[in-house]
Amino acid sequence: LGSFYGFNVDHGYLEGLVRGLKAGILTRSDYHNLAQCDTLEDMKLHLQSTDYGSLLTAGNEDLTVSLLDNRLKGTILTEFRCLRAHSLPPLSTFLDYITYSYMIDNVVLLITGALKHRDVEELLPRCHPLGTFDQMAAVGIARTHAELYSAILVDTPLAPFFQDAVSEANLDEMGAEIMRNKLYKAYLEAFYAFCWERGGATRDIMCPILEFEADRRSFIITVNSFGTDLSGGDRRALYPSCGRLYPEGLQLLARAEDHEQVKAVAEYYPDYKLIFSDTEDGSSRTLEDRFFEQEVHLNTLAFLDQFHLGVFYSYIKLKEQEARNIVWIAECVTQRQKSKIDNYIPIF
């Protein structure tokens, strides 16, 4: 219960900062203006009137979509680093948890690169900057899996995930994707446990978000594994168990063989039933788009409550979604495919 009284002592400044930053997230009318643009130059003009200000005017490189993408990611990175630098426990642990998902991607990339004997120096710039850890360069030195695990990965914050999910023996047999998904499952479950332990408003806000994430991954892994070599038993090892589908839904999903059966599983849960039922209307929204929408909705709910850690997580996720939206609009504009330009997910 110290959460209520003592929260502002440690985290009040940062919560205020995040709420201020949240006010700068683009609104529907901003997106509408951006979608009307015909060139990237117009978009740059519109972005100058938002909180992004001189994002694109600084420097004199050519204005391309990839430049825009890099600059947007750079802003998220700076904001996150600023928050992390000023934070105290338990917020600092919470923010570290957020970085673990990027770390997992980086580790998988480096491991596959090292196993194919590629130069680590080439891969380092391609890692996600939010997921850097100290031993990254050292991953390239390891020559066998055993070395990799015992010497390097053990010291990273990801070690507990490796222990649960992956043993030394089967590191080499697994493909990169399977390893990534197993690590992510362990990560989600650990994060969920952490939030549950915090209690109070943090638990009330974060746990539904993480449950949704877990279920969403289970659904999407199932749907995407139809027609591939991934069998039901293999799939089950990838389903995170911290969602609402656990345990019965996950069992049913592992046995599902086509889209109809997956939909039948979703029927038992009213939220998911809604998501699955809309995809058959012939609208241009795919299943994934609907999941994105639901995620954004849950994240916006975080700002309605105070004195909890969820605002930080939601802010980062929403900022990322905004970056994706802007890049999508930019791509549509440059490729002159205005028909699908409204496929972005509006946030506020």
Partner: protein, 248 residues
């Protein structure tokens, strides 16, 4: 241009026959080459039409493929590094075969799949549908590109072959055949002239002989006149009386 040349050859009847045969050969060759050039041109025009069709289709397909890449990036995040890391062998390969058109070999490329899809699980947790759509679109683009490559190489090869053939046809028509014809007419004129010379010579000899005969006759007549009447030796056969007969 070598306008007034003819082949240097001694003009004779045999040479004339040889030249006639060569003329015939040159004309047949020219007709055959013309037929080859026509066949090649026909194929050339077909290929040109196909290229235009394929290129416009290519524009559409590439545009769609690039857009599906943007969609996949929106749904699945940045998977480019994962894809690059997992590259080991090519899945789609190209074979070259030969096609023959009127004696000209044209290369034809066809693509074939080898090995399974090593990117089956990319985007497993996010954006898998967009990634598989992306793969399909780019596979279509690659097929079109291979076809376009065959068409373009055939185009270039055929173009060269047509130029060479036409050059040969023109060379035969405007250089070889006139040269042979000129040689032939030269031979014929030489032969005619030789005949005329022969004829003239004969005539001249006859005249000379006649003149000589007249001259000798005149001389005899003159000599006879000088000698007076010459008793002709008696002709035994025309004698009426024979002296040697004692008793008559």
């Amino acid at each position: 241009m070598s306008g007034k040349e003819r082949i240097d050859i001694f003009p004779s009847r045999m040479a004339q026959t040889i030249m006639k045969a060569r003329l015939k050969g040159a004309q047949t060759g020219r007709n055959l080459l013309k037929k080859k050039a026509d066949a090649l041109s026909m194929r050339f025009r077909q290929i040109l039409r196909k290229i235009i069709e394929t290129k416009t289709l290519m524009g559409e397909v590439m545009r769609e493929a690039a857009f599906s890449l943007a969609e996949a990036k929106f749904a699945a995040g940045d998977f480019s590094t994962t894809v690059i890391q997992n590259v080991n062998k090519a899945q789609v390969k190209v074979r070259a075969k030969k096609d023959n058109v009127a004696g000209v070999t044209l290369p034809v490329f066809e693509h074939y799949q080898e090995g399974g899809d090593s990117y089956e699980l990319t985007g497993l947790a996010r954006g898998g549908e967009q990634v598989s759509r992306l793969k399909r679109n780019y596979a279509k683009a690659v097929e079109l590109l291979v076809e376009l490559a065959s068409l373009q190489t055939s185009f270039v090869t055929l173009d060269q072959a047509i130029k060479i053939t036409n050059r040969r046809v023109n060379a035969i028509e405007h250089v070889i055949i006139p040269r042979i014809e000129r040689t032939l007419s030269y031979i014929i004129t030489e032969l005619d002239e030789r005949e005329r010379e022969e004829f003239y010579r004969l005539k001249k000899i006859q005249e000379k002989k006649k003149q000589m005969r007249e001259r000798t006759e005149k001389e005899i007549a003159a000599r006879q006149a000088l000698l007076g009447p010459i008793a002709e030796p008696s002709n035994m056969l025309t004698e009426e009386t024979d002296e040697d007969l004692l008793f008559e």
